[in-house]
Symmetry: C2
Subunit: 312 residues, 2 copies
């Protein structure tokens, strides 16, 4: 019998599910569209129906299913309560671990925020593999984050640990952030944030792909904007270094697809602000692709992350 | 036989030692001056001589000594290496756990930074007792910090976790900090930092006791300076909330002796910058007095801190 966990990655567009063994590679995976209509009320049933069907098909195969892990775009507290999700249409809090476990005939279920699942995947199988502690920052439409230390996600008292998207990096900012305050990292280093810097700086609606291409080509104006992006992001990482001091930073999310070109700008901003003792902390790109959510969720279920840092 | 640990608090002026049982109260304690001369080369021998003498006197008493913990003003890495200490005159790194253990006839020794020891004491017996995670900030000549989560100090890859004294809180500052950069929290919220704000704002060398007395009395100029102090410190705490998200913040160190008067200013700066979900995190004064260092060091040796927060 091969021990496996079911990894479930609930996104605003698709639900991805995989059977993941202790090797960290999905043995099987499938996906279906996320039905966000009617406040996303069908999502949990769609997931349990799909998994129960798969389990019944597996009958004669040699799998021992240890549990299921779920990553979702929203806060999940330590009791397993999902506190709504704008992307999924969920408005009411409910205990996703209990509800899903019941629908999966008692299978143990663990849930976490999707950025935390991505962090677990990178710690287990990706760029932070072999490191004792790590902080993941996902740069996309918003900015998420996750910290893995002692082989565990550091969740925080309000599931807010690693959420550096709303750290204030510019106390002089007057334009409001989506959160209602101003000067948040998200206003500069998310995809819409960088587009805003570009629009302000160049007075044009340049796409991000074109932008980074110009930076690669040495365009001065674009390089100046990239420096500003890196200055804010590196500054936020420096604050994280002087608070949790991870052994490595991993940059993921859609923005990271621009590739290595983004790293020197982040590094420069980081080194400008951090204590010398943390100056050499690696800042690298995420290595896991589209399966990160599945693999991280499975890691949560397996309790199988190698990232450990317990001794003082 | 009563299980106890030896708690050792090495300060720049005095070494304090105590025998601490699992109740967290020192059964016996004593102290002697720290001999910082000759690069502090006598300090370790003074400690081991003093403890060995005490142990020999205890022979007929009913103590089972489980180990010794040490807190000191300097970085201690996870192998037990103390990386020098300006306050103690130590310039060369050495493994204080191994050296002291040898001189204490093989007694297990654990060492940590003194701010971390203070955090352990508050988590075990002080203001953070019963909380699942906490961050301690010590405001004194410098600013130190310690984070306890999962019943353990979060040390960080470079023993730098919790060291928010050098988080940059003012990117426009031009006056240099002791660390060589500018705008560090220490420049505003340590004792010399606050004195600097007072000097700048009032053009006088007012003592801190007199300053807070005037704030209590409603003096407008002093209240304005207290707001600035609280704004920077609260801002730094907000960044910590969005990185480690502790269940409670504990403010200690010499500056905290001013009492409750400092808290509303810190709270205002904190709430101005933090995500709403973390807005109600308590910010309280440290409860442990002069024995904090001894008790925290003993907690390290006993592995007996109740502060736990392991499940995601």
């Amino acid at each position: 019998m091969k021990d496996i966990a079911i990894g479930i990655d609930i996104g605003g567009t698709a639900v991805k599910i995989g059977l993941v063994g202790k090797s960290g590679l999905p043995a099987e995976k499938w996906s279906f569209p996320t039905r966000t209509e009617e406040n996303g009320r069908h999502i949990i049933d769609d997931i349990s129906d799909s998994i129960n069907k798969k389990i019944s098909e597996l009958k004669d195969r040699e799998y021992n299913i240890l549990g299921a892990g779920v990553g979702l775009p929203g806060f999940v507290d330590e009791d397993g309560t999902a506190h709504g999700s704008v992307n999924l249409g969920w408005t009411e809090p409910f205990n996703i671990e209990e509800v899903l476990s019941q629908k999966l005939r008692g299978l143990p279920v663990r849930a976490c925020n999707d950025a935390n699942a991505a962090a677990l995947a990178e710690a287990w199988m990706g760029s932070a593999r072999g490191y004792k502690s790590m902080m993941m920052v996902t740069l996309g439409t918003g900015i998420g984050g996750g910290i893995v230390t002692g082989g565990q996600i550091l969740a925080g008292a309000h599931s807010c640990a690693g959420e550096i998207g709303h750290v204030c990096v510019n106390r002089d900012e007057t334009a409001p952030c989506s959160c209602g305050r101003a000067g948040c990292l998200e206003q500069y280093a998310s995809a819409p944030g960088l587009r805003r810097l570009i629009k302000e700086g160049l007075n044009t609606d340049m796409g991000l792909e074109e932008f980074w291409e110009k930076v690669r080509g040495g365009d001065e104006a674009c390089t100046g904007i990239a420096k500003r992006f890196g200055s804010y992001l590196g500054y936020a990482l420096s604050m994280a270094a002087m608070t949790v001091d991870p052994e490595i930073f991993v940059i993921g999310g859609g923005m990271s697809h621009a590739g290595q070109v983004i790293l020197p700008f982040i590094r420069e901003g980081y080194e400008d602000s951090v204590l010398p003792v943390c100056q050499n902390t690696p800042i690298v790109l995420a290595a896991m692709g589209n399966d990160a959510g599945i693999i991280g969720a499975a890691a949560l279920a397996l309790g199988n992350v190698r990232c450990t840092d317990t001794k003082i």
